[in-house]
């Protein structure tokens, strides 16, 4: 009996070794351990053996059964792993192929800068408003203390639609539209398009953007103007930014100043500002004895050129997607 057991073990071992699929292993299991399996039958024949052989043969057969069950399971595991691997291998992807990328929308660099500017002033308590681009001489000039014969009214510089209407040349027009409708304290800012009769070149476009704002209250001082604009500049241009105020002239402010910020080691002129001229306040129905006000207007396009290292203003308007995708 021991010989038969040994022979069986040897054969089973060989067959297991040569089985290449889990199905074959299963067939082997059935062949040896199934209801009519060889080993099952041997076990079943045990009672017919003589008493003295039965114990030893039973032990040998049970040992073989245990061994075989374990080997079958091991082999099945082994093959299952191999089969899964070959199935998954067939699904291998080339990780170096480009990813499927949905488009990602990009803000226009000027649009983004204007949003930033609105956010900064809003965080300083300013109300963000808008006004018409198609303006009247009344708001674009007269209410800003720019009389009919002032050089700034030169038709050379503005696009007119008729005698009274023009495309606004600055956003300060919005200030004087808003002021009569509010009671102080007022702090308002607007960001938008302006128009000037400029020949297109690398630094000029007939359409450009401006941020314009003002603040009216009892006791608004020139020093407040400096403080608010310095804060704005540090927010937009970085915490180390220095701001320079130099005397200038605008018909609607007195005193007036030009604002420059330090950026990468040089001074960049960003706009003009000052205390609203008392006549401007009067025309807006605000008592200039009781209230004082500051106002400012800054460019967006040219500062953006410096900020982002853009050397030609026309790039903003061409909308080449290779340009737009850089910001």
């Amino acid at each position: 009996m021991q010989e038969r057991v040994n022979a069986l073990r040897q054969r089973a071992a060989q067959e297991l070794e040569s089985a290449s699929t889990t199905e074959e292993v299963e067939a082997l299991r059935r062949r040896y351990l199934g209801r009519k399996g060889e080993l099952t039958q041997l076990l079943r024949s045990l009672p017919q053996l003589p008493q003295q052989e039965r114990v030893a043969a039973g032990a040998a057969l049970n040992e073989l059964k245990e061994w075989l069950e374990q080997r079958l399971q091991e082999r099945a595991e082994q093959l299952r792993a191999r089969e899964q691997d070959s199935r998954l291998r067939a699904e291998a992807v080339d990780v170096t192929l480009p990813g499927r990328r949905p488009l990602v929308g990009r803000e226009h660099v000027l649009g983004r800068m204007m949003e930033e500017i609105r956010d900064i002033f809003r965080s300083m308590g300013f109300e963000v408003v808008e006004g018409p681009e198609l303006e009247t001489e009344e708001f674009n000039f007269r209410r800003l203390n720019i009389p009919d014969d002032h050089p700034a009214r030169d038709a050379q510089d503005s696009f007119y639609l008729d005698d009274e209407h023009l495309l606004r040349t600055q956003c300060t027009a919005v200030d004087v539209r808003v002021m009569p409708r509010r009671t102080p304290p007022i702090r308002v800012v607007t960001v938008g398009r302006c128009y000037r009769r400029d020949v297109v070149d690398s630094t000029h476009m007939p359409v450009f953007h401006q941020v314009d704002g003002f603040m009216v209250g009892e006791g608004i001082r020139f020093s407040d103007l400096k403080g608010v604009l310095a804060e704005f500049a540090r927010q937009l241009w970085g915490p180390e930014t220095r701001v320079r105020f130099q005397p200038s002239y605008f018909p609607f402010t007195e005193p007036s100043a030009e604002i420059a910020v330090s950026f990468r080691g040089r001074w960049l002129e960003i706009g003009g500002c000052g205390m609203f001229h008392p006549r401007v306040l009067e025309m807006a129905g605000i008592d200039p004895e009781r209230y004082t006000a500051f106002a400012f207007g800054c460019g967006v396009d040219r500062p953006a050129m410096v900020r982002y290292g853009i050397d030609d203003i026309r790039l903003f308007w061409e909308n080449d997607v290779r340009f737009l995708g850089q910001f």
């Binding site: 480009p98 990813g99 499927r100 990328r101 488009l103 929308g105 990009r106 803000e107 226009h108 649009g111 809003r122 300083m124 308590g125 109300e127 963000v128 408003v129 808008e130 681009e133 014969d149 050089p151 038709a155 050379q156 696009f159 007119y160 639609l161 008729d162 209407h165 495309l167 304290p185 702090r187 398009r193 009769r197 020949v199 297109v200 007939p206 359409v207 006791g219 608004i220 001082r221 020139f222 020093s223 407040d224 400096k226 403080g227 320079r244 105020f245 130099q246 005397p247 002239y249 005193p255 100043a257 030009e258 205390m275 008392p278 308007w317 909308n319 080449d320 997607v321 290779r322 737009l324």
Partner: protein, 680 residues
């Protein structure tokens, strides 16, 4: 410096920084030998800075120096000037003061080198010793001067008057100028001899043989000079100075100074006296100043002493009262009219950089954003999230852009507002729609080999209507090429822009705005593919259009492929949008899905099938969406199969399949009855 005594030596290099702190912009600095040449930019309110003396006065005030104007000692000869020449102002509205001087027996010749050099450094060509003197004194004092050949003036004198119809003058530059009636001119007895304050006439100019000179030093009305210069399209050193309004008191000094220099350089004798027409001398202006207000406006404690000292250094006279000072303005500072102007003067010399940076002590408020600004921001963000890139395009377009993009002549969008004074052919009208600008963006990119362009713009459009001019905001979208990157192995139709990719963007936007009652329906528009075009309605109000750009337009713009465009009106979207969406309870009961392949006539839109399903399926229908559209065998010709998926759910209980079957049956019946549908 010749014109100022300075208490301490000044380093010219430092003045590149100091001039701007006084309000004088430095355009350029150049070293010429030992000289520093500053090119200064002056503000329009300071005509006094258009002469060196004015700048010197500022420097003197800033460094506590003393102004040293050139001394004029005239040796006058008989006969009196008034006996050989005359000056008249016929229209005092044009000219407040006219000072004439007569110099006789001059020998016209080249100027000495020092003068020619100085003129040249200031950008003025040297002509001869008489003309050069007038220019030199203008640079020195800011007062424009002119020299006439007295012998060529008919009647031996000049009159300031308005031009008469038809008058013509050949100016010094050889140009024939047709003068409009009312133009400011100088004339002799017979004809115009100069355009006042702008340029002299050729016929009365100083020539090598000129012996007798009539010098003009006048204060012309700035507006008159400006109007005349504009009408003639002229701009000269003289007109610039006159336009800003000078100092009538300066006219006499400048005339005397010029006469003296001519005598020095060209010999000759200055005749006794001046011809001075000055009917209404201006008394000095007096302005009051409250030092307390000065400190309140500036936000800095400028001591009374310092404020008064600054004003006096600028040649203002200060009479100090307890709260209120009376300040007398010097004649060269006619720009100073009221208290704020004096405050600025003090601030300027005190130094803007010495004023602290403070934050307003006003009540703090929270910044708010006006609804129209906020709406634009939201829409912009949603479109960015949809993968579109923001563009900015000019609001000015060419006259024929609208036609080129396919808008027919009688269409309301052709009612563009024209600019009265366009600068170029490229920008003559205000755009009525974003369409031409966006198609131009596609064209530019296509021409540069950028084939995948998906962009939007939120911008203003303008239109003439019966009611007048209208300005409103619109949202424009343009798409062409692939909307996905990394498209290897993908079918083209899945990744290329299409009507439905565009519609998807629009739908996404409307959904994100929580709009309820909107509808997109086929609508042919002239600039769109006639069968791939639709209109958008929100709450029954027209809110825009979308579709494939007409193939002819694509061809015209050389797009070499299909393009998809849309334009939505901002106002109807924003007005119907809900800013605070309300929660709807989620259903947790199982849903039952049923698919139905509906075969209908090819002309029946899928939306019709869905509409019928929605109408009859009852309240348990949660969703219904087409998922396949097919034409071809076995579907009979002229018909198509629209497969729709219906999802039924009752939030309160689990649905029985029999009741769902009953609903589906009801749907089938309705489709059969209304759309002559059969089922696959």
């Amino acid at each position: 410096m010749e014109l100022v005594d300075l208490p301490t030596p000044q380093d010219p290099a430092e003045w590149e920084e100091r001039f701007p702190m006084l309000g004088l912009g430095v355009e350029a600095v150049e070293r010429v030998g030992d000289d520093w040449v500053f090119d200064l930019e002056t503000t329009t309110n300071r005509p006094d800075w258009l002469g060196l003396l004015g700048v010197a006065r500022e420097v003197a005030a800033a460094c506590r120096g003393r102004l040293r104007p050139p001394q004029v000692h005239l040796e006058e000869s008989d006969p009196p000037a008034a006996e050989v020449a005359w000056v008249e102002v016929a229209d005092p509205g044009l000219c407040h003061r006219y000072v004439g001087r007569v110099v006789v027996d001059v020998r016209v010749g080249p100027s000495p080198a020092w003068m020619a050099e100085r003129l040249e450094r200031s950008g003025i060509r040297s002509i001869n010793n008489v003309v050069d003197v007038t220019n030199y004194v203008m640079l020195e004092t800011g007062q424009p001067l002119h020299a006439f050949d007295l012998d060529r003036l008919v009647g031996g004198g000049v009159v300031v008057r308005a031009a008469r119809p038809g008058e013509v003058l050949v100016t010094l530059d050889g140009q024939e100028r047709r003068l409009h009636p009312g133009a400011l001119v100088i004339a002799d007895r017979e004809r115009v001899v100069a355009v006042g304050g702008i340029m002299g006439g050729l016929d009365t100019e100083i020539r090598p043989d000129t012996r007798r000179v009539l010098l003009e030093s006048a204060w012309f009305h700035p507006v008159a000079v400006r109007r005349t210069a504009r009408a003639l399209g002229m701009r000269t050193e003289g007109s610039t100075r006159h336009e800003r309004g000078g100092d009538p008191e300066r006219a006499r000094f400048a005339a005397a100074r010029a006469a003296q220099l001519i005598q020095q350089l060209a010999g000759g004798r200055v005749l006794r006296g001046e011809l001075d027409v000055y009917p209404e001398p201006q008394p000095p202006r007096r302005v009051s100043l409250r030092p307390a207000r000065l400190r309140r406006v500036l936000g800095v404690e400028v001591p009374d002493e310092e404020a008064a000292d600054i004003l006096q250094r600028l040649e203002f006279q200060v009479e100090r009262g307890p709260d209120r000072w009376v300040v007398t303005v010097p004649s060269h500072r006619r720009d100073v009219e009221r208290e704020e102007d004096l405050i600025e003067e003090v601030a300027r010399i005190y130094g803007y950089d010495r004023i602290p940076e403070t934050l307003p002590v006003e009540v703090m408020g929270v910044g708010v954003v006006a609804p129209e600004v906020d709406a634009e921001r939201r829409i912009r963000e949603l479109l960015l999230r949809a993968g579109l890139t923001e563009v900015l395009t000019l609001s000015l377009v060419r006259a024929d852009d609208l036609e080129r993009v396919g808008i027919p002549p009688d269409h309301p969008l052709r009612r563009a507002i024209p600019l009265r004074n366009p600068l170029t052919q490229e920008h003559t009208h205000l755009r009525t729609t974003l369409l031409p600008s966006l198609v131009e963006v596609l064209r530019t990119n296509r021409a540069r080999g950028n084939g995948d362009v998906h962009v939007f713009e939120v911008g203003r459009v303008f239109q003439a209507s019966e009611a007048g001019w209208e300005e409103r905001k619109a949202v424009g979208i343009a798409q062409m090429g692939r909307s996905l990157r990394g498209t290897w192995n993908l079918p083209q139709e899945a990744v290329q822009a299409s009507f439905h990719s565009l519609k998807g963007v629009v739908e996404g936007l409307l959904e994100a705005l929580h709009l309820q009652g909107w509808e997109i329906q086929a609508e042919p528009l002239p600039w769109l593919h006639p069968y791939r075009a639709a209109g958008l309605w929100v709450d029954g109000r027209r809110a825009g259009w979308l579709g494939e750009l007409h193939p002819e337009v694509c061809e015209r713009y050389d797009l070499r492929g299909r393009a998809y465009v849309a334009e939505l009106e901002l106002a109807p979207l924003v007005e119907a949008a809900r800013t605070i969406p309300q929660y709807r309870p989620l259903a947790y009961t199982p849903a039952v899905e049923r698919d139905l392949a509906v075969v209908v006539d090819s002309s029946v839109p899928a939306g019709e099938v869905v509409r019928v399903v929605r109408e009859v399926a009852g309240g348990l229908l949660e969703a219904c969406e087409p998922f396949d559209v097919y034409a071809g065998p076995p579907v009979p010709p002229g018909r198509k199969s629209v497969a729709v998926r219906m999802r039924f759910r009752d939030p309160a209980r689990t649905l029985q399949s029999e009741e769902v079957e009953r609903l589906v049956e009801r749907v089938r019946t309705a489709l059969r009855d209304r759309l002559a549908a059969s089922f696959r």
